[in-house]
Structure formats: structure tokens, C-alpha cells
Symmetry: C2
Subunit: 339 residues, 2 copies
DNA sequence: TTGTAAGCGTTATCAC
DNA sequence: GTGATAACGCTTACAA
């Protein structure tokens, strides 16, 4: 099986190289008989054009880069990235694009850094967190239209983005808790200085307000999305705020840590204490007890981000869009009426 | 900032295009002064050669494909995949290769299928499961040297592979259980007809034999790596084999389901029943109770697979290698002496 | 409708 | 040590 090129196919189909090209690219101006001859040869030899050569000629690669940080958080471990990436990937494939997934690590040298977002090889970029967004914004400054970020970022209003409606999500979760009669509800949130966190806190406050509960600063902690965080805070609060009966965790992983601490302190969930998660990770269903949580459309975020980017690349969309997706409350077994 | 090409750099450095190319590729036969002039211009304009053009000329892309199935198992959800991919990615980046991660879905049409492993765009391929190995073997039949698989597959002895030593792993886990005095030990294993499963069962049997325990077929179940599987089997065995006091799960996810079922049946772990996992997923530490498990070097498998592949691509290794990595027992809180 | 020829940005061969 | 020049395999004016 020797190497096939467009010229060989052309020869075999008794036409010129350009006719083959037109057929392959569905261009007009090619007679029906020529088209059929070409198609038959293509079929017979199972030919497919060399995408590298095509890229060089067309100046685009149909490849999209997905960029995220190496160390930034533990999402890597919990299935969040997988879901998100899967959404990106499948939307891209459907529309004829490839995806290159890279992890950025701040210890990388300039050379590597440049490689990761080499514009020669990438038609566009999807940034999955703030750190890499900064990186990309620097390099792609002149052509912002080919970048999309997951998670709104007030510093980049001209870059399209996708996120779950964080405020609505937190509001849903906390409202469920207040609806069950809880009055002293702790809140553990993720990263500082991020719109996501602000929005979730805002939703938390709104739900309290609507239930006529006064906001108490001591009941809110902002740290990280790690299990450790939930574990630590529960231990702290159990000592300092014994009247607490429920906890809103801005991430399922936080909730996992919280559940572990509760268990170790012999506090039964949900009888004596309710726990609400956020994310709706696949594993949340198998926690003990199965976790009540606010599910965000993780796959959908990836899918939508890819759609947005490709629409821009194909000039189907020229505006900067900031899309909010809807969260959904999943009631399982970690929440119950206040004791 | 206009587009830079090698010709522009050449002009600015007062040399020919070939000299620039030589400098950039560390070829000999270029004078020190010329080299410096070129380097200075390259630095100043922050030039980096177009990899697409380079690929067309050199006939290789420095891109490696990673292929796995979309639906085959739940690894996607539990952090296994992320770890594995991270290992592949970082080894590749270190050695100057890019990675394209794709999910194969059997519902894909021929066109897409061919796309996924288009040899024009990929120097090599890493297959993460059997289904995609079959796929790759078909297409890359003539150049097996550029494929590496994760998980040994007796059907492809001429393709290099990496795996954990499955037999040793299971043996370590079950020996720990027998060492604690357990005599009736259930075993739940993953996919049928896979060397991995055979090896783990073999390790399980060996440990029993060494402890003088007779093998009982009814205590072994082969199904899938899902939580569901663990959940179901525990419920079954609790009824049919009440004398069972310990369980060896060939995957941490299976163990998660088992723990949930045990909890629902009010059987305390590890006091009345011990559970051993396999994998050492990051989340296993946060299960309730934290899971005792046989950790396999997931990241290491990815890393080694990439290393093997690149060694082959660079002709540093011409043999077919089947590498076994060592598992490690992590004792946490789900195992205790038999009651 | 078809074919010719000029790119696309590199590497690599081969005179000089 | 250096610089033309011919690949690499495709797209796309433009001419026929």
C-alpha cells in the first residue's frame, strides 16, 4: 500500500488535481461524470487527503486547544474535567474539529508555554480556568475572537464565556435547606476572588433572606474545592457553632470531606445534620449517604463552549456572548428536616 | 505584528533561509557569527517556526493520539482517566510531543473513525482499552511500531504495552485479608475475557492457597468495574453467604458500591466486615471509611506508555516490550481482623 | 467545466 | 559554511 496523494488520485480518475480537490471539498463547477469518477477512485483506494498539507494551504488546522492548569485544584481527580472535556470533544468532533488537551504548569519555560498555544497549529482555544485565561489573553490578544472561556471572568468581558448560573444554583440548594426548617446553615465556598464564588455566596444570602434568616459571617468560609476544606471546617464548626444543623458546600468534593468529618464525630446524616453539595458529580450518588446536590450541566458547559468557539471561527456568531446554563437540584439522602 | 516566516527572519539576519533552518534545528555547519545573528533576530521578533509547514516537510507531526472508548467503562468518572492522561501528557510534553485525546464511540461513522487515527496527523497512538486497540490494529496494521497499549493484550503480542502487575496486586490485597484472619473472602472482578481479570483472579487464588483456604467458585463474581456491581453483589452475598467477612474488589469504584450496600444493611465496616479496593484512586481516601486499597501507579502507566512510544518513534527502542509496574498496598480503615 | 500554476512555510539536497 | 532549489501535498486564482 503505497502513499496516496491527490495527484495519484487525479491520474487514476483521469482528471486534474483541481477537480479532485473540488470534489473533495464539495465545490461547485464540476461535472457529474467527473465527480463520480473521482469518488469511485477515492472509494476504491480509501483515500483521504493529508490534513497537514491542507492546513498549510488553507491556513487553518481545524484543531482546537483545550487548556487548563496542572495543579490549580482537585477537579482533575473527581470526574469534573472528564465530563467537561467530553462535552468539548464531542461537539468538536461533530463539527469536524480535533481537540488537543493540555495542562499548563507555571513551572514551564517560555518555549513550552508558547508551544501550548501555538497559533499556527490551533484555530482556537478553550480555557478552563483563570490562570490559563490570563496566559491565553496575552498571546492571543490580537485575535480574541478565537478564545472562549468556561466560567465567566469579569476581567475579560470581550471574550465569550459559558457558565452555570451560580447564583440560581446556590439559591436552589440553600432554599431547599431552609424549606426543611434549618436556620443555622454553614456555607463553604471555593476560590477567593472569583465571580463564581461571589455569585454562589449571593445565592446563599438571598435564600437566607427569603427565609427571614439573618446572615452571619461566621458561618461562611471561603477556601478551596478540596475534601480537606470540608473536613476541616466541619471539625471547626462542630466546636464553635454547635447549633449548626446544615451545611451548603459549593462543591461535591467539599461535601465528601464534610461527610467524613461528621461521621468521625458520630453525627448522623441526615438525621442530625444535613449536607448539600454542588456539582452533581457522578460519584456523588455513591457517597454514603448518597449526596443531595445542586447539579450543574458539566458536560453541557463543555459542549456549549465548543459550540460558541466554532460558531465564532465559522463567523456564524460575531458577538461576544456570556451564556448561563441552568442548575438542577437533585434530592438524595443527605438532607432532611431540621432536628 | 505581521506574520513572520523563515524568509523574513533570514532577510533580517542577512543570511539565507537555509542557515536559519540549520540554526533552529541545531544542525552543524553554521558559523558562530551567523548563528548569533540569527538567534538575535529570532529572539527579538519572538519567532517560532510554523509546525504545520515543518510537518509537511519532515513527514512527521510530533503529535501523538490517545484513544479510548466513550462508553466502555466508568473510569471516566472516577479520576482514573485523568491521572492516566496526565501521565501521558507530561511525558510527551517533556519530550516535545503534543497529545490529542479522542474518545471512540462505536456509533461513529467510517469517516470519523478514520479521522480519529489519521496517520497523516499522528506520529503514534496510545490505546487505553481493548476496543480501540482493535480499531487501531486494523488501521495501523502495517506499522505496528507506532502503537502502544495500556494493559497487556494477549492478542497483540507484537505491540508494546504497559500495565500494573495485576497478579501481584491482587495477591498483596488478598494476602492482607487472610493475614487478618479472614477465611471467607468474596472477590468481585471487572471485565470478562481480559488478561487483567485473569491475572487478578490468579493473584486472589494464590493468596488463598498460601493461607490454606480452599477456593470456592461461588465467592467470585466477574462483571464490570461499576459501583452498581459492588452494590448488587454485596446484597446477594449477604443473603446467600452470610459467613463472608471480607471482600476483595478489583476496583475502588466497585468497593464504593459495596460500602454503600454494607451501610444500608447496617453492617459495620471494618468491625464486622472488611473491604479491600484496587486502584488507589484519589477519592478512595475520602470514602467512609477511608478505603484500604491496592494502589496501582496510574500516572506512571501513562507516563511509561508515552515513553515507550516515543522511544520507538525515535528508534531508541526497537524491541516489543511488555512492562509491568508495581502495585502498592495502602492500608486505611476498611480492613480489620476477622470478627 | 477543466487544467495550469502559484502559493502555503518548512526541510533537505547539492552545488559552490 | 553557505545559498539556490526542489520537494512535501494540498487549495485556489486565473486562464483556457
Amino acid at each position: 500500500m503505497e502513499k496516496l496523494t491527490i495527484d495519484k488520485i487525479a491520474k487514476l480518475a483521469l482528471v486534474s488535481r483541481s477537480v479532485v480537490s473540488r470534489v473533495l471539498n464539495n465545490h461547485p463547477n464540476v461535472s457529474e461524470e467527473a465527480r463520480e469518477r473521482v469518488l469511485k477512485v477515492v472509494e476504491k483506494y480509501n483515500y483521504s487527503p493529508n490534513p497537514v498539507a491542507r492546513s498549510l494551504a488553507t491556513q487553518h488546522t481545524r484543531q482546537i486547544g483545550v487548556l487548563t492548569s496542572r495543579f490549580k485544584d482537585e477537579n482533575l481527580d473527581n470526574g469534573y474535567w472528564s465530563q467537561l472535556y467530553l462535552g468539548v470533544f464531542e461537539e468538536c468532533i461533530r463539527r469536524g474539529y480535533y481537540v488537543r488537551l493540555s495542562f499548563y504548569d507555571s513551572s514551564m519555560n517560555d518555549n513550552l508555554r508558547r508551544h501550548l498555544l501555538n497559533e499556527h497549529q490551533l484555530d482556537g482555544l478553550i480555557c478552563l480556568n483563570e490562570e490559563v485565561t490570563d496566559l491565553a489573553a496575552e498571546h492571543f490578544a490580537h485575535k480574541e475572537r478565537s478564545v472562549v472561556i468556561v466560567g465567566h471572568n469579569p476581567r475579560y468581558t470581550t471574550i465569550s464565556s459559558v457558565d452555570v448560573d451560580n447564583q440560581a444554583g446556590a439559591h436552589k440548594g440553600v432554599s431547599h435547606l431552609t424549606g426543611l426548617g434549618h436556620r443555622v446553615i454553614g456555607g463553604i465556598f471555593g476560590n477567593h476572588n472569583v465571580q463564581e464564588t461571589e455569585q454562589r455566596i449571593s445565592g446563599y444570602k438571598k435564600a437566607l433572606r427569603q427565609a427571614g434568616i439573618e446572615f452571619d459571617e461566621r458561618l461562611v468560609h471561603v477556601g478551596s474545592y478540596s475534601q480537606e476544606e470540608g473536613y476541616q471546617m466541619v471539625n471547626e464548626w462542630l466546636a464553635s457553632v454547635p447549633e449548626m444543623t446544615a451545611l451548603f458546600c459549593a462543591g461535591d468534593t467539599i461535601a465528601m470531606g464534610a461527610l467524613l468529618a461528621l461521621k468521625e464525630n458520630n453525627i448522623s446524616v441526615p438525621e442530625r445534620f444535613s449536607v448539600m453539595g454542588f456539582d452533581g458529580l457522578p460519584i456523588s450518588k455513591y457517597l454514603i449517604p448518597p449526596l443531595t446536590t445542586v447539579a450543574q450541566p458539566i458536560y453541557g458547559k463543555g459542549e456549549k463552549a465548543a459550540a460558541l468557539l466554532i460558531d465564532q471561527l465559522q463567523k456564524k456568531e460575531t458577538r461576544t456572548l456570556h451564556i448561563d446554563l441552568s442548575p438542577e437540584l437533585i434530592i438524595r439522602n443527605t438532607t432532611a428536616p431540621a432536628p
